[in-house]
């Protein structure tokens, strides 16, 4: 036991480990906050879809020969996020199908473009890295960390200030619109924030982890808690704890970071499901 702790203490002195912990926790926090809204709006897969869009955008940037692809990738992803959230219930193609279409479509186009024009010799490596993270979370630069900190502060602030409005447009968009709330504006803001979170964190941890971080904490919290506030708070706490546990485990056991965090999230989900069953059962 002391062995583990001394190893841990050893690692915690390394700045790359501390950086990874900070970034992991912040991304987990941000994505879980918006995750509740996304899951409730039936947009669970938007994280996955948008990160594939970002991949397609990167391919375009590479083909055009941009050195700094961030602005282009962000712009395209934001536009797609807005389009997806706009589609709503009235469209002929439902939200989940639209996400699947855009997701698979941009992955295919992106791969095609890279295949046709790319000079990179490691194509499958490039594709794989979009799924599992292009930069390993253990090799973050201090620029990455700062960007992540600033972004997270903005996201949390946005969420706190717009919390009531997010609830309202998520629960009943028509009512919000009909009674003079600026639902389109709030949807737009939500879409932009989501796109930003996804683009930034995708480069750090990969799209697999992002989807998991969006979906699992929200679903776990919804097993047990019954008001929007308690679900949101619980999702945030669960997400942060799982991210920390996953990160530390992966450092100690040498397992891949993203997959380990997802595994911990799955365990948490199972635990919450059981608690929910017991609570629900005793009441009935």
């Amino acid at each position: 036991m002391t062995d583990i702790f001394s190893t841990l203490a050893f690692y915690l002195q390394r700045s790359f480990v501390v950086n990874a912990l900070i970034v992991g926790v912040l991304i987990a926090l941000c994505s879980s906050l918006l995750g509740v809204t996304l899951v409730l709006k039936r947009y669970s897969f938007i994280g996955d879809g948008l990160s594939h869009v970002a991949f397609g955008a990167m391919a375009i940037a590479a083909v055009v020969g941009l050195t700094n692809n961030m602005p282009l990738v962000l712009a395209i992803t934001v536009v797609c996020a807005i389009l997806l959230l706009r589609i709503g219930k009235n469209a002929k193609i439902k939200g989940d199908a639209a996400i699947a279409m855009i997701s698979v479509g941009s992955l295919a186009i992106g791969y095609l473009l890279m295949n046709l024009f790319s000079t990179s010799s490691n194509l499958s490596g490039d594709v794989c890295s979009t799924l599992f993270g292009s930069t390993s979370i253990l090799t973050l630069s201090s620029f990455d960390v700062w960007m992540c900190v600033i972004l997270s502060v903005i996201v949390v602030l946005f969420f706190v200030l717009f919390y009531n409005k997010i609830f309202s447009v998520t629960f009943d968009e028509n009512f919000a619109r009909a009674t003079g709330q600026r639902a389109s504006l709030y949807n737009l803001l939500i879409a932009i924030v989501i796109a930003v979170i996804i683009v930034v964190s995708m480069q750090l941890v990969g799209s697999l982890l992002i989807s998991a971080l969006v979906i699992f904490p929200a679903l776990s919290a919804m097993r047990v808690f019954k008001s929007f506030k308690s679900v949101t708070i619980c999702a945030a706490i669960v997400s942060v704890i799982c991210a920390l546990t996953g990160l530390l485990t992966s450092i100690l056991a040498g397992t891949p970071v993203g997959s380990t965090i997802v595994a911990v999230d799955i365990v948490a989900f199972i635990i919450f499901s059981v608690i929910g069953k017991i609570k629900g059962g005793s009441k009935a």
């Binding site: 919390y163 009531n164 009512f175 919000a176 009909a178 008001s227």
Partner: protein, 234 residues
């Protein structure tokens, strides 16, 4: 003085027209019932009046001093809400948001208003309960309390009694009636129950192949005429 004037409205989606030539007005304190068959365009009319979709042609005018911020709306239930984790309190108070513009948090007045609306709807004891665990009738009253938080002037209700048992339906009608008579709230309501509509409403708008708008007395004559007409055909 009319609160709402609709002139020569035609309703529809895209190029497909569902109704045309609808004209009616609603005065302060009126109780208008909209009746008509399934699919005749009642919900579409209400959504158009609410500004959720554009009319294909025609105009909708609210009187001076009445804006979308003075409207309360009870939607036909959507499936998203069915498994939504939200407490009754959270839902009711969200009715206040339209008035608040960008200010981020609820204040004392909002909380007091939510409290009063819940009291009025007799759901104070459900305050902390989870919305998705309530019965259909309780859910309708929660949504009505939310609508009351949005306005005291004009309520638009889309089939508020759908799926409720006769007793709860009767209670709901009484509740709506008292909002209209005692609190002076203008009611525009969609209903399938013509008898109830004739009992409570002051005006009827019938939409279908043949459209009609007038007071309920006029509607009785219109219906009798229609029945006679059918008899003559036989």
């Amino acid at each position: 003085m009319p609160q709402l004037i609709c002139k020569d409205l035609s309703l529809g989606y895209g190029s497909q027209e569902i109704q045309h030539g609808l004209s009616f007005e609603v005065n302060s304190g009126d109780y208008l019932c909209i009746v008509g068959e399934n699919g005749s365009g009642k919900t579409t009319l209400m959504k158009t009046v609410l500004g959720l979709q554009k009319p294909l042609s025609g105009t909708i005018e609210f009187s001076e001093g009445l804006s979308s911020r003075d409207i309360g709306y009870l939607p036909q239930q959507t499936d998203v809400q069915r498994d939504f984790p939200a407490s009754v309190q959270e839902i009711v108070i969200s009715g206040c948001l339209g008035r608040k513009g960008f200010s981020p948090f609820y204040n004392k007045d909002d909380k007091a208003l939510a409290q009063r609306s819940m009291e009025r709807m007799n759901i104070l004891d459900l305050k902390k309960r989870c919305y998705r665990e309530l019965s259909g009738g309780q859910q309708q009253r929660v949504l009505l309390a939310r609508a009351l938080c949005a306005t005291q002037k004009i309520l638009l209700l889309d089939e508020p009694v759908a799926g409720l048992d006769p007793k709860v339906t009767a209670d709901m009608y009484e509740l709506i009636d008292s909002l209209n008579k005692d609190d002076g709230v203008t009611i525009i309501m969609i209903s399938h129950d013509v008898d109830k509509a004739l009992r409570y409403a002051s005006h009827i708008l019938h939409i279908g192949n043949e459209c009609f708008f007038g007071t309920k007395e006029e509607y009785r004559d219109f219906k009798d005429g229609a029945v006679k007409g059918e008899d003559d055909n036989d």
